[in-house]
């Protein structure tokens, strides 16, 4: 029906609602990357010698690598010498309370609805807000510290808990892992560090909100979460970005390490600027996320809702090394306008009776192109291991694309791998039915897509699920009919 096509057109032209820029002076190094820049970053952060050595080794390795080209995305070459690798808000002194935070900064968070202030903060959520590359405020520290939980910017952890950081940094994602991981290892500026002591079920959901701000500054976050024996933690990551004209590179590394009987739940709601209706601007999100179920009966669960970025290249993965360990990946990825996403997961089964579940829901609208790429590998020792993969795509309109590339490698005959995949469209009949009940087309689409994603949303912590649904609706306003 031509009316609906027209509506599709109209809706997909809507602009990013949350694009605005905060005017704060940033202390930025000149663009370019060399050993001196790395030494500068390390010195700024007063880092120990071993960390500088780690960075320099990573940099030397990065120089030997080529950008990967196997992913199904296209973009102009990134000029790594045009990126500034360090930027910090000028107010560098230590803050005792939120009152000392630049009001303009707080205002920015409020616009995004980020629960940073005491009034705004969601009950039970400790927030470590990252503004550009340096953490400016941390809440709930005392309460968490009393329980033995360490939750702080990784730069601070390097100072206060150097042995712990040194023990785990780069153990799950070595700097040799891939091009972007090597780059991140060389130049990462900040991020979060979490350590949950033995036997503790962390009662608070730990939350970090990222926000890319300073113009022309690459973002290289580094997150490291360690769950000791029989502990549990739920970690939330969320972000939106202000409007920009030029592309911004984001190459984060997230490492999760689970000991015996430990459980880590990592949830992401991601809404980086996807670019305008012509595909100009927008974030390049080249992220390496991996969890190691090192211990027996350990459990790592990734849940992600991705609506942003011009280009997404991301495969949150689990290495199931411990016997009876469990890996899960629940994903909703929405691409509209000219967004491109090549995303999925890797489940590497090494231990006996290891189990993994993959549920991927991809929604593609406008002229967007989306690829699910997943690897399930059953190693020689993966006796009686099992995987179940469900991979569903939904197409809105007739100019978008959805692709599925499942890779299965099995070296153990007793292992079982199941893969199910579907592709659907939103039906005219569904829209008509909703309209006939008085429901606007936009709301109808939001319902139908929400229903499609429910299996994933129900894995998110409650407040996050509400936020994700809202985000999906806002993003869809730009895309369908």
């Amino acid at each position: 029906m031509s009316d609906e096509k027209q509506m599709l057109e109209d809706l997909s032209q809507q602009d990013y609602k949350w694009g605005f820029v905060t005017a704060i002076d940033a202390d930025t190094v000149p663009p370019g990357l060399n050993e001196d820049v790395i030494r500068f970053i390390s010195a700024q952060k007063n880092e120990p010698e071993w960390l500088l050595a780690f960075r320099l080794k990573a940099y030397a390795h990065w120089l030997t690598l080529e950008e990967p080209t196997w992913q199904k995305v296209t973009f102009p070459p990134v000029d790594y010498q045009a990126i500034s690798y360090y930027s910090a808000p000028k107010q560098q002194k230590k803050l005792d309370s939120l009152d000392e935070v630049d009001p303009e900064l707080l205002d920015t968070y409020e616009k995004l609805g980020i629960p940073l202030t005491e009034q705004k903060r969601l009950a039970g959520v400790a927030v470590d807000a990252v503004f550009d590359s340096v953490s400016v405020a941390t809440t709930h520290q005392d309460k968490l510290a009393a329980m033995g939980v360490i939750f702080m910017p990784i730069s601070e952890a390097v100072q206060k808990h150097p042995d712990l950081v040194r023990k785990y940094l780069g153990k799950v994602v070595p700097y040799t892992d891939n091009y972007y991981a090597a780059l991140n290892s060389a130049v990462f500026t900040d991020g979060s560090f979490v350590y949950i002591p033995k036997g503790l079920k962390c009662p608070l959901e730990l939350s970090t909100y990222f926000r890319i701000n300073a113009e022309n500054t690459g973002q290289f976050e580094r997150t490291l979460i360690v769950a000791d024996d029989a502990s549990y933690v739920s970690y939330l990551e969320g972000c939106t970005a202000p409007k920009r004209d030029e592309n911004q590179l984001h190459a984060a590394v997230v490492e999760l390490f689970a000991h015996d009987d430990a459980s880590i739940k990592y949830s992401t709601v991601q809404n980086w600027y996807p670019g305008d209706k012509d595909g100009k601007g927008g974030i390049y999100n080249f992220v390496t996320k991996r969890g190691l179920c090192a211990g027996d009966r350990s459990h790592i669960s990734w849940t992600q809702v991705e609506t942003g970025s011009a280009i997404t290249w991301k495969y949150p993965s689990c290495v199931l090394k411990g016997d009876d360990s469990v890996g899960e990946f629940y994903s909703v990825a929405l691409t509209t306008k000219h967004q491109q996403a090549d995303t999925g997961t890797k489940m590497i089964h090494l231990g006996k009776r290891t189990r993994s579940t993959i549920v991927s829901k991809g929604i593609s609208a406008g002229k967007a192109d989306q690829t699910y790429r997943g690897l399930v590998k059953m190693g020689k020792g993966a006796e009686s291991a099992r995987n179940f993969t469900q991979c569903d795509s939904m197409l809105l309109g007739d100019r978008c694309g959805a692709h599925t590339f499942p890779y299965i490698e099995s070296q153990n005959a007793s292992a079982q791998v199941e893969h199910e995949a579907t592709t659907t469209r939103i039906g005219d009949d569904q829209i008509f039915y909703c309209n006939q009940r008085g429901i606007e087309t936009e709301d109808a689409v939001s319902m139908i897509v929400g229903g499609f994603c429910r299996e994933v949303f129900k894995e998110l912590p409650m407040e996050f699920a509400v936020e994700a649904q809202k985000l999906l609706s806002v993003s869809l306003e730009g895309s369908v009919g």
Partner: protein, 258 residues
């Protein structure tokens, strides 16, 4: 309430309705019967505003205004309700939330405050009991995995929740056993009011025993070929369509129903 004048409508270029005239006054219940392919469902889709059907000639006046000016959702909020012959499924989306969104869209249109989940649950509870529905249907996905009877009763539930001024039931009785049929009839009868009208499309006289119409029309080959009182339905049941003219010689009420 509703005036249809010389209505012609086509789907994919093929004319289905070939000049319908019909006047429905407030409080009246009209039944439309007729053999398969006569245009009964097309009429209901055109009234609801389905964009796949094109009005090529004639007009429809609803409450004195040209219905063709209104979008599907505007017609709905102005009180036109269609109980679908084949209710559509929305997997993963809860029936309760769907019904609440529909009710709130109507309330908003009337300038009333929207119901939150708790108020809506209270509001819906009585209607669910009236229709003898399993309350669990509310937590399941919209129509997904519902039996045929459950789907039809869910349509009826929506009708009683939305309290339309003009309700069209498109073969709501098809495929229902006698108990389910009685429940549907109860839903319709509970809504009968001096300012509310119904158009009941059916193959069978059966439903009309429980929902007694004021008028019965026979639709054939895109035209209303005969109109009468409730006794016409019984006559059709008795004699089939053949006595209405040679062109119906083959047609039997309820025959070839699919």
């Amino acid at each position: 309430m509703l005036t249809i004048r010389n209505l012609h409508a086509a789907v994919e270029g093929k004319e289905i309705l070939k000049g319908i005239d019909l006047e429905i006054k407030p409080g009246e219940v009209h039944a439309i019967m007729g053999p398969n392919g006569s245009g009964k469902s097309t009429l209901s889709q055109v009234l609801a505003g389905n964009g796949n059907f094109e009005v090529t000639e004639g007009e429809i006046l609803y409450k004195g205004s040209d219905l063709g000016e209104l979008a599907v959702e505007e017609r709905a909020r102005e009180g036109i309700f269609l109980a679908f012959q084949y209710p559509v499924e929305i997997p993963g989306f809860s029936n309760a939330e769907f019904l609440r969104a529909a009710v709130n869209a109507h309330r908003k249109h009337r300038g009333e405050s929207e119901l939150d989940a708790f108020d809506f649950a209270d509001f819906a509870k009585r209607k669910i009991e009236l229709l003898d529905l399993d309350p669990k249907l509310m937590t399941r996905s919209v129509n997904a995995g519902f039996s045929g009877g459950e789907k039809k009763r869910n349509e009826c539930l929506q009708m009683t929740l939305l309290e339309p001024t003009f309700a069209i039931l498109d073969e709501t009785d098809s495929g229902l056993d006698i108990d389910a049929l009685k429940i549907v009839a109860k839903g319709v009868n509970s809504l009968r009011a001096p300012d509310r009208s119904f158009l009941i499309i059916t193959h069978y006289q059966r439903l009309l025993e429980y929902v007694v119409p004021d008028y019965v029309h026979v639709l054939a080959a895109g035209r209303i070929v005969k109109s009468g009182g409730k006794e016409l339905a019984l006559e059709l049941e008795d004699k089939g369509y053949g006595w209405l003219g040679a062109e119906f010689a083959e047609a039997v009420p309820g025959g070839g129903e699919g």
